[in-house]
Amino acid sequence: MNVKHDALPISVSNISKTYGKVHALDDVSLEVRKGEFLTLLGPSGSGKTTLLMVLAGFTRPDCGSLKFGDREVIRTPPHLREVGMTFQSYALFPHMTVAGNVGYPLRLRKVPKLEITTRVEQALETVRLGGFGDRRIDQLSGGQRQRVAVARAIVFEPRILLMDEPLSALDKKLRDQMQIELRQLHEKLGMTTVYVTHDQREALTMSDRIAVVNHGRIMQLATPRDLYERPSNWFVADFIGESTFLRVRRDGDRVRYGEQALLHTVPAPDKADLLLMIRPERITLAPDGPRPGANNFAAVVTDMVYQGDSYLLHSRLGDGNMIALRGAVRGSSLSAMPSVGDHVTLSMTSEDTVLIDASEA
Protein backbone atom coordinates (compact mmCIF):
# COMPACT_ATOMS: atom_id res chain seq x y z
CA MET A 1 0.00 0.00 0.00
CA ASN A 2 1.31 3.41 -0.97
CA VAL A 3 1.54 5.72 2.00
CA LYS A 4 1.71 9.32 0.93
CA HIS A 5 4.11 10.99 3.29
CA ASP A 6 1.67 13.57 4.54
CA ALA A 7 -1.50 11.51 4.98
CA LEU A 8 -2.95 11.97 8.46
CA PRO A 9 -3.99 9.39 11.04
CA ILE A 10 -7.36 9.85 12.73
CA SER A 11 -7.90 9.31 16.42
CA VAL A 12 -11.45 8.96 17.68
CA SER A 13 -11.82 8.83 21.47
CA ASN A 14 -14.98 8.21 23.47
CA ILE A 15 -17.39 9.88 21.09
CA SER A 16 -21.02 9.72 22.16
CA LYS A 17 -24.12 11.20 20.63
CA THR A 18 -27.67 10.72 21.82
CA TYR A 19 -30.88 11.90 20.22
CA GLY A 20 -33.41 11.80 23.00
CA LYS A 21 -33.26 8.23 24.23
CA VAL A 22 -31.48 6.84 21.21
CA HIS A 23 -27.73 6.29 21.38
CA ALA A 24 -26.62 7.11 17.87
CA LEU A 25 -23.01 6.77 18.98
CA ASP A 26 -22.14 4.99 22.19
CA ASP A 27 -18.68 5.79 23.53
CA VAL A 28 -16.95 5.04 20.24
CA SER A 29 -13.19 4.90 20.02
CA LEU A 30 -11.19 4.13 16.91
CA GLU A 31 -7.75 4.65 15.45
CA VAL A 32 -7.40 5.05 11.70
CA ARG A 33 -3.80 4.60 10.54
CA LYS A 34 -2.34 7.10 8.18
CA GLY A 35 -2.98 6.28 4.57
CA GLU A 36 -5.36 3.50 5.50
CA PHE A 37 -8.62 2.69 3.71
CA LEU A 38 -11.04 2.01 6.52
CA THR A 39 -14.67 1.13 5.99
CA LEU A 40 -17.51 1.69 8.42
CA LEU A 41 -19.89 -1.15 7.72
CA GLY A 42 -23.30 -1.66 9.22
CA PRO A 43 -27.06 -1.77 8.68
CA SER A 44 -29.06 1.45 8.35
CA GLY A 45 -29.46 3.22 11.64
CA SER A 46 -26.28 1.65 12.98
CA GLY A 47 -24.53 4.98 13.44
CA LYS A 48 -21.96 4.67 10.69
CA THR A 49 -23.12 7.76 8.84
CA THR A 50 -23.42 9.64 12.13
CA LEU A 51 -19.80 8.85 12.88
CA LEU A 52 -18.74 10.04 9.44
CA MET A 53 -20.68 13.27 9.98
CA VAL A 54 -18.88 13.74 13.29
CA LEU A 55 -15.57 13.34 11.47
CA ALA A 56 -16.67 15.92 8.92
CA GLY A 57 -17.95 18.33 11.55
CA PHE A 58 -21.62 18.41 10.57
CA THR A 59 -22.79 16.52 13.63
CA ARG A 60 -21.61 17.74 16.98
CA PRO A 61 -21.23 14.88 19.48
CA ASP A 62 -22.21 15.22 23.11
CA CYS A 63 -18.68 14.47 24.19
CA GLY A 64 -15.45 12.95 23.01
CA SER A 65 -12.22 13.84 21.31
CA LEU A 66 -11.20 13.77 17.66
CA LYS A 67 -7.69 14.23 16.40
CA PHE A 68 -6.36 14.52 12.90
CA GLY A 69 -2.70 13.77 13.41
CA ASP A 70 -1.80 15.83 16.47
CA ARG A 71 -4.52 18.44 16.00
CA GLU A 72 -7.63 18.30 18.18
CA VAL A 73 -10.50 19.14 15.83
CA ILE A 74 -13.64 18.21 17.73
CA ARG A 75 -14.62 21.84 18.10
CA THR A 76 -13.42 22.97 14.70
CA PRO A 77 -16.25 24.03 12.33
CA PRO A 78 -16.60 21.97 9.14
CA HIS A 79 -15.21 24.57 6.79
CA LEU A 80 -11.89 24.58 8.62
CA ARG A 81 -11.36 20.84 8.92
CA GLU A 82 -9.66 20.39 5.54
CA VAL A 83 -11.18 17.01 4.75
CA GLY A 84 -12.45 15.93 1.36
CA MET A 85 -16.00 14.56 1.40
CA THR A 86 -18.43 12.94 -0.99
CA PHE A 87 -22.13 12.73 -0.20
CA GLN A 88 -24.56 9.97 -1.02
CA SER A 89 -26.53 12.33 -3.22
CA TYR A 90 -23.29 13.75 -4.67
CA ALA A 91 -24.50 17.27 -3.75
CA LEU A 92 -23.11 18.74 -6.95
CA PHE A 93 -24.06 22.39 -7.47
CA PRO A 94 -26.50 22.47 -10.39
CA HIS A 95 -25.96 26.13 -11.13
CA MET A 96 -22.29 25.60 -11.92
CA THR A 97 -20.53 23.61 -14.62
CA VAL A 98 -18.30 20.65 -13.83
CA ALA A 99 -15.26 22.91 -13.78
CA GLY A 100 -17.15 25.38 -11.61
CA ASN A 101 -17.93 22.65 -9.11
CA VAL A 102 -14.44 21.20 -9.01
CA GLY A 103 -12.84 24.63 -8.84
CA TYR A 104 -15.07 25.83 -5.99
CA PRO A 105 -12.78 24.80 -3.11
CA LEU A 106 -9.80 26.33 -4.90
CA ARG A 107 -11.64 29.61 -5.41
CA LEU A 108 -12.47 29.64 -1.71
CA ARG A 109 -8.79 29.27 -0.95
CA LYS A 110 -7.95 32.19 -3.24
CA VAL A 111 -5.82 30.08 -5.54
CA PRO A 112 -4.79 32.11 -8.63
CA LYS A 113 -7.05 31.58 -11.63
CA LEU A 114 -4.49 30.00 -13.92
CA GLU A 115 -3.52 27.48 -11.30
CA ILE A 116 -7.17 26.65 -10.72
CA THR A 117 -7.67 25.72 -14.36
CA THR A 118 -4.66 23.42 -14.31
CA ARG A 119 -5.52 21.70 -11.09
CA VAL A 120 -9.18 21.26 -12.04
CA GLU A 121 -8.16 19.55 -15.27
CA GLN A 122 -5.71 17.37 -13.38
CA ALA A 123 -8.35 16.30 -10.91
CA LEU A 124 -10.79 15.52 -13.71
CA GLU A 125 -8.17 13.43 -15.47
CA THR A 126 -7.50 11.52 -12.30
CA VAL A 127 -11.13 10.43 -12.26
CA ARG A 128 -11.10 9.79 -16.01
CA LEU A 129 -13.23 12.79 -16.91
CA GLY A 130 -10.59 14.84 -18.67
CA GLY A 131 -12.12 17.56 -20.84
CA PHE A 132 -15.52 17.46 -19.11
CA GLY A 133 -15.04 20.88 -17.54
CA ASP A 134 -17.63 22.69 -19.63
CA ARG A 135 -20.44 20.24 -19.14
CA ARG A 136 -23.50 21.06 -17.09
CA ILE A 137 -24.38 18.80 -14.20
CA ASP A 138 -27.72 17.76 -15.65
CA GLN A 139 -25.95 16.47 -18.75
CA LEU A 140 -24.00 13.87 -16.79
CA SER A 141 -24.85 10.25 -16.08
CA GLY A 142 -24.90 8.86 -12.55
CA GLY A 143 -21.44 7.41 -12.83
CA GLN A 144 -20.02 10.63 -14.21
CA ARG A 145 -21.60 12.68 -11.44
CA GLN A 146 -20.06 10.38 -8.91
CA ARG A 147 -16.64 10.98 -10.42
CA VAL A 148 -17.11 14.75 -10.43
CA ALA A 149 -17.99 14.54 -6.75
CA VAL A 150 -14.74 12.68 -6.12
CA ALA A 151 -12.74 15.13 -8.22
CA ARG A 152 -14.18 18.02 -6.24
CA ALA A 153 -13.27 16.32 -2.99
CA ILE A 154 -9.64 15.71 -3.88
CA VAL A 155 -8.74 18.78 -5.93
CA PHE A 156 -7.58 20.77 -2.92
CA GLU A 157 -5.38 17.86 -1.80
CA PRO A 158 -6.89 17.12 1.59
CA ARG A 159 -5.06 14.62 3.74
CA ILE A 160 -8.22 12.83 4.75
CA LEU A 161 -11.05 11.68 2.52
CA LEU A 162 -14.56 10.80 3.75
CA MET A 163 -17.05 8.98 1.56
CA ASP A 164 -20.70 8.42 2.44
CA GLU A 165 -22.09 5.44 0.48
CA PRO A 166 -20.80 6.88 -2.79
CA LEU A 167 -21.84 3.95 -4.94
CA SER A 168 -25.28 3.14 -3.57
CA ALA A 169 -27.13 4.97 -6.35
CA LEU A 170 -25.38 3.14 -9.18
CA ASP A 171 -26.39 -0.07 -10.90
CA LYS A 172 -24.47 -3.25 -10.17
CA LYS A 173 -22.09 -3.31 -13.08
CA LEU A 174 -21.09 0.31 -12.67
CA ARG A 175 -20.74 -0.20 -8.96
CA ASP A 176 -18.32 -3.10 -9.36
CA GLN A 177 -16.27 -1.08 -11.80
CA MET A 178 -16.20 2.00 -9.57
CA GLN A 179 -15.12 -0.07 -6.58
CA ILE A 180 -11.98 -1.00 -8.43
CA GLU A 181 -11.42 2.56 -9.62
CA LEU A 182 -11.85 4.06 -6.18
CA ARG A 183 -9.46 1.55 -4.73
CA GLN A 184 -6.92 2.37 -7.42
CA LEU A 185 -7.40 6.07 -6.74
CA HIS A 186 -6.66 5.43 -3.12
CA GLU A 187 -3.50 3.55 -3.97
CA LYS A 188 -2.37 6.38 -6.19
CA LEU A 189 -3.12 9.31 -3.91
CA GLY A 190 -2.57 7.60 -0.59
CA MET A 191 -4.81 9.79 1.58
CA THR A 192 -6.42 8.37 4.69
CA THR A 193 -9.89 7.31 3.62
CA VAL A 194 -12.96 6.56 5.74
CA TYR A 195 -15.66 4.89 3.70
CA VAL A 196 -19.25 4.21 4.74
CA THR A 197 -21.35 1.44 3.24
CA HIS A 198 -23.98 -1.13 4.13
CA ASP A 199 -22.81 -3.48 1.37
CA GLN A 200 -20.50 -6.07 2.90
CA ARG A 201 -19.14 -7.28 -0.40
CA GLU A 202 -18.07 -3.72 -1.19
CA ALA A 203 -16.40 -3.44 2.19
CA LEU A 204 -14.57 -6.73 1.84
CA THR A 205 -13.34 -5.81 -1.65
CA MET A 206 -12.04 -2.33 -1.00
CA SER A 207 -10.87 -2.00 2.57
CA ASP A 208 -7.62 -2.35 4.44
CA ARG A 209 -9.65 -2.70 7.61
CA ILE A 210 -13.34 -2.76 8.36
CA ALA A 211 -15.16 -1.48 11.44
CA VAL A 212 -18.50 -3.23 11.80
CA VAL A 213 -20.95 -0.86 13.46
CA ASN A 214 -24.24 -1.60 15.17
CA HIS A 215 -26.37 0.43 17.58
CA GLY A 216 -23.72 3.11 17.78
CA ARG A 217 -20.94 0.74 18.80
CA ILE A 218 -18.04 -0.83 16.98
CA MET A 219 -18.64 -4.58 17.05
CA GLN A 220 -15.31 -5.51 15.54
CA LEU A 221 -12.43 -3.75 13.86
CA ALA A 222 -10.32 -6.07 11.71
CA THR A 223 -9.00 -6.82 8.26
CA PRO A 224 -11.55 -8.24 5.83
CA ARG A 225 -9.98 -11.63 6.22
CA ASP A 226 -10.07 -11.70 9.98
CA LEU A 227 -13.61 -10.39 9.95
CA TYR A 228 -14.76 -13.17 7.68
CA GLU A 229 -12.74 -16.01 9.17
CA ARG A 230 -12.73 -15.04 12.82
CA PRO A 231 -15.76 -12.95 13.72
CA SER A 232 -15.58 -12.06 17.38
CA ASN A 233 -19.31 -11.94 18.06
CA TRP A 234 -22.60 -13.12 16.72
CA PHE A 235 -23.57 -9.82 15.06
CA VAL A 236 -20.45 -9.70 12.91
CA ALA A 237 -20.71 -13.40 12.11
CA ASP A 238 -24.30 -12.96 11.05
CA PHE A 239 -23.83 -9.71 9.18
CA ILE A 240 -20.91 -10.85 7.03
CA GLY A 241 -21.66 -13.70 4.68
CA GLU A 242 -24.61 -16.01 5.16
CA SER A 243 -24.27 -18.53 7.93
CA THR A 244 -26.27 -20.96 9.92
CA PHE A 245 -25.73 -21.10 13.65
CA LEU A 246 -26.04 -24.10 15.92
CA ARG A 247 -26.15 -23.79 19.65
CA VAL A 248 -23.35 -25.66 21.32
CA ARG A 249 -22.08 -25.76 24.88
CA ARG A 250 -18.82 -25.95 26.67
CA ASP A 251 -18.14 -29.08 28.62
CA GLY A 252 -14.91 -28.54 30.50
CA ASP A 253 -12.23 -28.37 27.82
CA ARG A 254 -14.46 -29.61 25.10
CA VAL A 255 -17.24 -28.08 23.12
CA ARG A 256 -20.21 -30.28 22.42
CA TYR A 257 -22.97 -30.23 19.90
CA GLY A 258 -25.46 -32.44 21.59
CA GLU A 259 -23.32 -35.41 22.57
CA GLN A 260 -20.84 -34.88 19.79
CA ALA A 261 -17.51 -33.31 20.70
CA LEU A 262 -16.35 -30.81 18.13
CA LEU A 263 -12.87 -30.59 16.68
CA HIS A 264 -11.72 -27.03 16.23
CA THR A 265 -8.33 -25.60 15.35
CA VAL A 266 -8.99 -22.11 16.63
CA PRO A 267 -9.59 -21.87 20.38
CA ALA A 268 -13.18 -21.21 21.43
CA PRO A 269 -14.17 -18.24 23.61
CA ASP A 270 -14.18 -19.01 27.30
CA LYS A 271 -17.94 -19.00 27.73
CA ALA A 272 -20.47 -21.67 28.60
CA ASP A 273 -22.91 -20.89 25.79
CA LEU A 274 -21.45 -20.84 22.33
CA LEU A 275 -22.54 -20.90 18.72
CA LEU A 276 -21.13 -22.96 15.92
CA MET A 277 -20.95 -20.84 12.81
CA ILE A 278 -21.43 -22.82 9.62
CA ARG A 279 -20.60 -20.98 6.42
CA PRO A 280 -22.42 -22.68 3.53
CA GLU A 281 -19.29 -22.89 1.42
CA ARG A 282 -17.15 -24.31 4.24
CA ILE A 283 -19.26 -27.38 4.82
CA THR A 284 -19.21 -30.18 2.25
CA LEU A 285 -20.98 -33.34 1.28
CA ALA A 286 -19.13 -36.49 2.28
CA PRO A 287 -20.40 -39.09 -0.16
CA ASP A 288 -18.11 -41.74 1.34
CA GLY A 289 -19.42 -41.27 4.83
CA PRO A 290 -18.00 -39.51 7.92
CA ARG A 291 -14.47 -38.22 7.45
CA PRO A 292 -11.93 -38.84 10.19
CA GLY A 293 -10.42 -35.70 11.77
CA ALA A 294 -13.42 -33.61 10.80
CA ASN A 295 -16.79 -32.74 12.28
CA ASN A 296 -19.53 -34.83 10.69
CA PHE A 297 -23.28 -34.45 10.79
CA ALA A 298 -25.95 -36.81 9.57
CA ALA A 299 -28.76 -35.06 7.74
CA VAL A 300 -31.71 -35.53 5.44
CA VAL A 301 -32.00 -33.41 2.30
CA THR A 302 -35.04 -31.15 2.30
CA ASP A 303 -34.38 -28.89 -0.67
CA MET A 304 -31.93 -28.65 -3.52
CA VAL A 305 -31.66 -25.41 -5.48
CA TYR A 306 -29.66 -25.10 -8.66
CA GLN A 307 -28.26 -21.57 -8.97
CA GLY A 308 -26.12 -21.79 -12.05
CA ASP A 309 -22.66 -21.25 -10.65
CA SER A 310 -23.42 -23.17 -7.48
CA TYR A 311 -26.06 -25.24 -5.83
CA LEU A 312 -27.69 -24.68 -2.48
CA LEU A 313 -28.56 -27.70 -0.44
CA HIS A 314 -30.88 -27.47 2.57
CA SER A 315 -30.88 -30.37 4.96
CA ARG A 316 -32.26 -31.23 8.35
CA LEU A 317 -30.21 -32.63 11.17
CA GLY A 318 -31.45 -35.26 13.54
CA ASP A 319 -32.50 -32.74 16.16
CA GLY A 320 -34.46 -30.63 13.67
CA ASN A 321 -31.89 -27.90 12.97
CA MET A 322 -31.52 -26.84 9.35
CA ILE A 323 -28.16 -26.44 7.64
CA ALA A 324 -27.49 -24.74 4.31
CA LEU A 325 -24.65 -25.97 2.14
CA ARG A 326 -23.28 -24.37 -0.98
CA GLY A 327 -21.21 -26.29 -3.49
CA ALA A 328 -19.74 -25.60 -6.91
CA VAL A 329 -21.52 -27.14 -9.86
CA ARG A 330 -19.39 -29.25 -12.15
CA GLY A 331 -20.59 -30.90 -15.27
CA SER A 332 -19.22 -34.18 -13.94
CA SER A 333 -21.02 -34.00 -10.61
CA LEU A 334 -24.44 -33.05 -11.94
CA SER A 335 -25.61 -36.60 -12.08
CA ALA A 336 -24.35 -37.30 -8.57
CA MET A 337 -26.43 -34.56 -6.93
CA PRO A 338 -28.46 -35.76 -4.02
CA SER A 339 -32.21 -35.43 -4.16
CA VAL A 340 -34.83 -34.53 -1.65
CA GLY A 341 -35.17 -37.18 0.99
CA ASP A 342 -31.70 -38.62 0.67
CA HIS A 343 -29.69 -39.30 3.80
CA VAL A 344 -26.34 -37.55 3.57
CA THR A 345 -23.29 -36.84 5.68
CA LEU A 346 -22.10 -33.26 5.98
CA SER A 347 -18.51 -32.68 6.91
CA MET A 348 -16.57 -29.67 8.15
CA THR A 349 -12.81 -29.53 8.72
CA SER A 350 -11.53 -28.42 12.09
CA GLU A 351 -9.89 -25.36 10.52
CA ASP A 352 -13.26 -24.26 9.22
CA THR A 353 -15.00 -24.80 12.53
CA VAL A 354 -15.55 -21.42 14.15
CA LEU A 355 -17.07 -20.97 17.57
CA ILE A 356 -18.53 -17.73 18.79
CA ASP A 357 -19.80 -16.28 22.02
CA ALA A 358 -23.55 -16.83 22.14
CA SER A 359 -24.38 -13.74 24.17
CA GLU A 360 -26.14 -11.00 22.14
CA ALA A 361 -27.46 -13.63 19.76
Binding site: F58, P77, H79, M85, F87, S89, L92, P94, A153
Partner: protein, 276 residues
Protein backbone atom coordinates in the same frame (compact mmCIF):
# COMPACT_ATOMS: atom_id res chain seq x y z
CA UNK B 1 -67.17 18.81 -33.76
CA UNK B 2 -69.91 16.28 -33.22
CA UNK B 3 -67.29 13.59 -32.85
CA UNK B 4 -65.56 15.54 -30.16
CA UNK B 5 -68.82 15.95 -28.31
CA UNK B 6 -69.30 12.23 -28.33
CA UNK B 7 -65.74 11.37 -27.32
CA UNK B 8 -65.09 10.48 -23.71
CA UNK B 9 -63.84 13.16 -21.38
CA UNK B 10 -62.99 10.89 -18.48
CA UNK B 11 -61.97 7.34 -17.71
CA UNK B 12 -65.51 6.75 -16.54
CA UNK B 13 -66.65 7.32 -20.09
CA UNK B 14 -68.56 10.54 -19.68
CA UNK B 15 -68.62 12.29 -23.02
CA UNK B 16 -67.74 15.90 -23.64
CA UNK B 17 -71.30 16.51 -24.79
CA UNK B 18 -72.69 15.49 -21.44
CA UNK B 19 -70.35 17.93 -19.81
CA UNK B 20 -71.07 20.83 -22.09
CA UNK B 21 -72.97 22.66 -19.39
CA UNK B 22 -69.85 22.55 -17.19
CA UNK B 23 -67.65 23.89 -19.94
CA UNK B 24 -70.02 26.74 -20.71
CA UNK B 25 -70.44 27.77 -17.09
CA UNK B 26 -66.70 27.62 -16.46
CA UNK B 27 -65.90 29.79 -19.43
CA UNK B 28 -68.51 32.32 -18.33
CA UNK B 29 -67.06 32.41 -14.81
CA UNK B 30 -63.55 32.87 -16.07
CA UNK B 31 -64.65 35.67 -18.34
CA UNK B 32 -66.39 37.30 -15.39
CA UNK B 33 -63.26 36.93 -13.31
CA UNK B 34 -61.01 38.57 -15.80
CA UNK B 35 -63.07 41.20 -17.59
CA UNK B 36 -63.95 43.61 -14.79
CA UNK B 37 -60.29 44.19 -14.20
CA UNK B 38 -59.37 44.48 -17.83
CA UNK B 39 -62.35 46.50 -18.90
CA UNK B 40 -61.09 49.45 -16.90
CA UNK B 41 -58.30 49.83 -19.43
CA UNK B 42 -60.32 50.80 -22.51
CA UNK B 43 -62.83 52.67 -20.38
CA UNK B 44 -60.11 54.92 -19.10
CA UNK B 45 -59.78 56.29 -22.61
CA UNK B 46 -63.42 57.28 -22.77
CA UNK B 47 -64.08 60.97 -23.03
CA UNK B 48 -67.34 60.78 -21.13
CA UNK B 49 -67.68 61.45 -17.40
CA UNK B 50 -69.47 58.14 -17.12
CA UNK B 51 -66.77 56.04 -18.70
CA UNK B 52 -68.57 54.34 -21.52
CA UNK B 53 -67.69 51.03 -23.02
CA UNK B 54 -66.87 50.97 -25.80
CA UNK B 55 -65.83 54.60 -25.58
CA UNK B 56 -67.82 56.74 -27.98
CA UNK B 57 -65.19 59.38 -27.99
CA UNK B 58 -61.60 58.37 -27.34
CA UNK B 59 -59.53 60.76 -25.34
CA UNK B 60 -56.71 60.89 -22.87
CA UNK B 61 -58.18 63.63 -20.76
CA UNK B 62 -58.22 61.55 -17.62
CA UNK B 63 -54.55 60.75 -18.02
CA UNK B 64 -53.82 64.41 -18.51
CA UNK B 65 -55.82 65.17 -15.42
CA UNK B 66 -53.71 62.64 -13.52
CA UNK B 67 -50.28 63.63 -14.74
CA UNK B 68 -51.15 67.28 -14.50
CA UNK B 69 -52.14 67.14 -10.86
CA UNK B 70 -49.30 67.78 -8.45
CA UNK B 71 -51.26 66.04 -5.71
CA UNK B 72 -51.62 62.83 -7.63
CA UNK B 73 -47.99 62.94 -8.70
CA UNK B 74 -46.82 63.48 -5.18
CA UNK B 75 -48.94 60.58 -3.97
CA UNK B 76 -47.62 58.37 -6.76
CA UNK B 77 -44.04 59.19 -5.88
CA UNK B 78 -44.71 58.35 -2.25
CA UNK B 79 -46.33 55.03 -3.14
CA UNK B 80 -43.43 53.98 -5.32
CA UNK B 81 -40.88 55.07 -2.78
CA UNK B 82 -42.60 53.24 0.03
CA UNK B 83 -43.15 50.11 -2.07
CA UNK B 84 -39.52 49.95 -3.15
CA UNK B 85 -38.26 50.49 0.37
CA UNK B 86 -40.66 47.88 1.69
CA UNK B 87 -39.35 45.44 -0.88
CA UNK B 88 -35.76 46.23 0.07
CA UNK B 89 -36.43 45.77 3.78
CA UNK B 90 -38.94 42.93 3.85
CA UNK B 91 -37.10 40.64 1.45
CA UNK B 92 -33.77 40.25 3.28
CA UNK B 93 -35.39 40.32 6.71
CA UNK B 94 -37.90 37.68 5.64
CA UNK B 95 -35.43 35.49 3.76
CA UNK B 96 -33.01 35.47 6.69
CA UNK B 97 -35.84 34.67 9.05
CA UNK B 98 -37.01 31.80 6.85
CA UNK B 99 -33.47 30.44 6.64
CA UNK B 100 -32.88 30.82 10.36
CA UNK B 101 -36.09 28.96 11.17
CA UNK B 102 -35.30 26.26 8.64
CA UNK B 103 -31.75 25.61 9.83
CA UNK B 104 -32.26 26.09 13.53
CA UNK B 105 -33.42 23.29 15.74
CA UNK B 106 -34.56 25.27 18.74
CA UNK B 107 -37.83 24.22 20.26
CA UNK B 108 -39.33 27.63 19.64
CA UNK B 109 -39.22 27.32 15.88
CA UNK B 110 -42.89 26.45 15.64
CA UNK B 111 -43.90 29.31 17.87
CA UNK B 112 -41.71 31.73 15.94
CA UNK B 113 -43.26 30.59 12.68
CA UNK B 114 -46.76 31.20 14.02
CA UNK B 115 -45.67 34.63 15.18
CA UNK B 116 -44.44 35.46 11.70
CA UNK B 117 -47.77 34.51 10.19
CA UNK B 118 -49.74 36.68 12.59
CA UNK B 119 -49.86 39.80 10.40
CA UNK B 120 -51.78 37.75 7.87
CA UNK B 121 -54.25 36.44 10.43
CA UNK B 122 -55.06 39.60 12.32
CA UNK B 123 -57.71 41.79 10.63
CA UNK B 124 -55.98 44.62 8.81
CA UNK B 125 -58.16 47.20 10.51
CA UNK B 126 -56.64 46.31 13.86
CA UNK B 127 -53.13 46.52 12.51
CA UNK B 128 -54.05 49.92 11.12
CA UNK B 129 -55.43 51.49 14.27
CA UNK B 130 -52.76 49.87 16.39
CA UNK B 131 -50.04 51.30 14.21
CA UNK B 132 -51.81 54.64 14.20
CA UNK B 133 -51.71 54.88 17.95
CA UNK B 134 -48.15 53.59 18.19
CA UNK B 135 -46.92 56.03 15.59
CA UNK B 136 -48.53 58.96 17.37
CA UNK B 137 -46.51 57.99 20.44
CA UNK B 138 -43.32 57.41 18.48
CA UNK B 139 -43.93 60.56 16.46
CA UNK B 140 -43.50 58.86 13.14
CA UNK B 141 -47.06 59.36 12.00
CA UNK B 142 -47.37 60.35 8.38
CA UNK B 143 -43.74 59.51 7.68
CA UNK B 144 -42.30 57.30 4.99
CA UNK B 145 -40.38 55.39 7.65
CA UNK B 146 -43.57 54.55 9.46
CA UNK B 147 -45.25 53.36 6.29
CA UNK B 148 -42.31 51.21 5.30
CA UNK B 149 -42.18 49.57 8.71
CA UNK B 150 -45.89 48.83 8.75
CA UNK B 151 -45.93 47.51 5.19
CA UNK B 152 -42.88 45.38 5.91
CA UNK B 153 -44.74 43.78 8.77
CA UNK B 154 -47.64 43.04 6.43
CA UNK B 155 -45.36 41.61 3.76
CA UNK B 156 -43.19 39.47 6.06
CA UNK B 157 -45.57 36.48 6.29
CA UNK B 158 -45.61 36.18 2.50
CA UNK B 159 -41.83 36.31 2.25
CA UNK B 160 -41.40 33.76 5.03
CA UNK B 161 -43.97 31.37 3.59
CA UNK B 162 -42.71 31.53 0.01
CA UNK B 163 -39.03 31.30 0.94
CA UNK B 164 -39.74 28.67 3.57
CA UNK B 165 -41.48 26.49 1.01
CA UNK B 166 -38.54 26.80 -1.36
CA UNK B 167 -36.09 25.88 1.38
CA UNK B 168 -38.13 22.82 2.27
CA UNK B 169 -37.78 21.53 -1.26
CA UNK B 170 -34.08 22.32 -1.39
CA UNK B 171 -31.30 19.83 -0.80
CA UNK B 172 -29.39 21.21 2.16
CA UNK B 173 -26.57 18.72 1.62
CA UNK B 174 -25.32 21.08 -1.09
CA UNK B 175 -24.77 23.74 1.51
CA UNK B 176 -23.06 21.14 3.69
CA UNK B 177 -20.87 20.12 0.78
CA UNK B 178 -19.86 23.74 0.29
CA UNK B 179 -19.02 24.06 3.96
CA UNK B 180 -17.00 20.84 3.82
CA UNK B 181 -15.08 22.31 0.91
CA UNK B 182 -14.07 25.30 2.98
CA UNK B 183 -16.89 27.85 2.88
CA UNK B 184 -18.17 29.30 6.17
CA UNK B 185 -21.94 29.07 6.55
CA UNK B 186 -22.71 32.59 5.33
CA UNK B 187 -20.60 32.14 2.20
CA UNK B 188 -22.13 28.77 1.47
CA UNK B 189 -25.56 30.35 1.78
CA UNK B 190 -24.72 33.23 -0.54
CA UNK B 191 -22.91 31.25 -3.24
CA UNK B 192 -24.80 27.98 -3.22
CA UNK B 193 -28.20 28.18 -1.56
CA UNK B 194 -29.36 31.65 -2.53
CA UNK B 195 -28.82 31.21 -6.28
CA UNK B 196 -30.95 28.12 -6.12
CA UNK B 197 -33.88 29.64 -4.26
CA UNK B 198 -33.63 32.65 -6.51
CA UNK B 199 -37.13 32.16 -7.84
CA UNK B 200 -38.68 32.23 -4.39
CA UNK B 201 -36.67 35.26 -3.33
CA UNK B 202 -37.65 37.24 -6.40
CA UNK B 203 -41.29 36.24 -5.96
CA UNK B 204 -41.11 37.36 -2.34
CA UNK B 205 -39.67 40.69 -3.41
CA UNK B 206 -42.44 41.12 -5.92
CA UNK B 207 -45.11 40.21 -3.38
CA UNK B 208 -43.62 42.67 -0.90
CA UNK B 209 -43.68 45.43 -3.47
CA UNK B 210 -47.26 44.73 -4.46
CA UNK B 211 -48.43 44.35 -0.87
CA UNK B 212 -47.16 47.81 -0.13
CA UNK B 213 -48.19 49.41 -3.38
CA UNK B 214 -51.77 48.15 -3.15
CA UNK B 215 -52.24 48.59 0.54
CA UNK B 216 -55.20 50.77 1.53
CA UNK B 217 -56.38 50.36 5.12
CA UNK B 218 -53.15 50.92 7.01
CA UNK B 219 -52.18 53.71 4.65
CA UNK B 220 -55.52 55.33 5.36
CA UNK B 221 -54.49 55.85 8.94
CA UNK B 222 -50.77 56.39 8.89
CA UNK B 223 -50.15 58.16 5.65
CA UNK B 224 -51.26 61.67 5.08
CA UNK B 225 -50.02 65.15 5.67
CA UNK B 226 -46.97 65.35 3.49
CA UNK B 227 -46.94 61.70 2.57
CA UNK B 228 -50.28 60.40 1.46
CA UNK B 229 -50.07 57.32 -0.66
CA UNK B 230 -51.70 56.83 -4.01
CA UNK B 231 -54.13 54.26 -2.66
CA UNK B 232 -55.14 56.48 0.20
CA UNK B 233 -56.02 59.32 -2.11
CA UNK B 234 -57.80 56.98 -4.48
CA UNK B 235 -59.91 55.59 -1.69
CA UNK B 236 -60.87 59.01 -0.42
CA UNK B 237 -61.77 60.07 -3.95
CA UNK B 238 -63.94 56.97 -4.32
CA UNK B 239 -65.88 57.73 -1.23
CA UNK B 240 -66.89 61.08 -2.55
CA UNK B 241 -67.78 60.43 -6.15
CA UNK B 242 -66.76 58.32 -9.06
CA UNK B 243 -63.83 60.33 -10.27
CA UNK B 244 -62.94 59.09 -13.74
CA UNK B 245 -59.30 60.00 -13.22
CA UNK B 246 -59.18 56.90 -11.10
CA UNK B 247 -59.79 54.82 -14.21
CA UNK B 248 -56.60 56.21 -15.68
CA UNK B 249 -54.71 55.57 -12.46
CA UNK B 250 -56.10 52.03 -12.31
CA UNK B 251 -54.91 51.31 -15.81
CA UNK B 252 -51.47 52.56 -14.92
CA UNK B 253 -51.45 50.43 -11.80
CA UNK B 254 -52.32 47.36 -13.85
CA UNK B 255 -49.48 48.29 -16.15
CA UNK B 256 -47.05 48.64 -13.26
CA UNK B 257 -48.06 45.25 -11.85
CA UNK B 258 -47.58 43.59 -15.22
CA UNK B 259 -44.14 45.13 -15.66
CA UNK B 260 -43.12 43.98 -12.19
CA UNK B 261 -44.26 40.46 -12.92
CA UNK B 262 -42.36 40.32 -16.19
CA UNK B 263 -39.24 41.58 -14.43
CA UNK B 264 -39.73 38.99 -11.71
CA UNK B 265 -40.06 36.30 -14.33
CA UNK B 266 -36.82 37.38 -15.98
CA UNK B 267 -34.78 37.71 -12.81
CA UNK B 268 -36.14 34.67 -11.09
CA UNK B 269 -35.86 32.30 -14.00
CA UNK B 270 -34.02 29.10 -13.21
CA UNK B 271 -32.79 28.66 -16.72
CA UNK B 272 -29.80 30.94 -16.42
CA UNK B 273 -26.52 29.81 -17.87
CA UNK B 274 -24.43 28.07 -15.19
CA UNK B 275 -21.26 29.71 -14.00
CA UNK B 276 -17.84 28.40 -14.87
Amino acid sequence: MLNWLRSPATDTQISHGQRLWLYVISVIIMVLLVTPTLIVIPMSFSDSQYLEFPPEVWSTRWYQSYFGSSEWMQATRTSFKVAFLTMLVATPVGVLAAYGLHASRIRFVRAAFVLMITPMMVPVVLVAIGAFYAYVQLQILYTVTGLVLAHTVLALPLVVIVTGAALKGYDMSQEEAARGLGAPRWKAFLTITLPQIRFAVVTSALLSFLTSFDEVVVAMFISGGDNPTLTRNMFNALRDQIDPTIAAISTLMIFVTTVMMVLAGLFGSQKQKPKQ
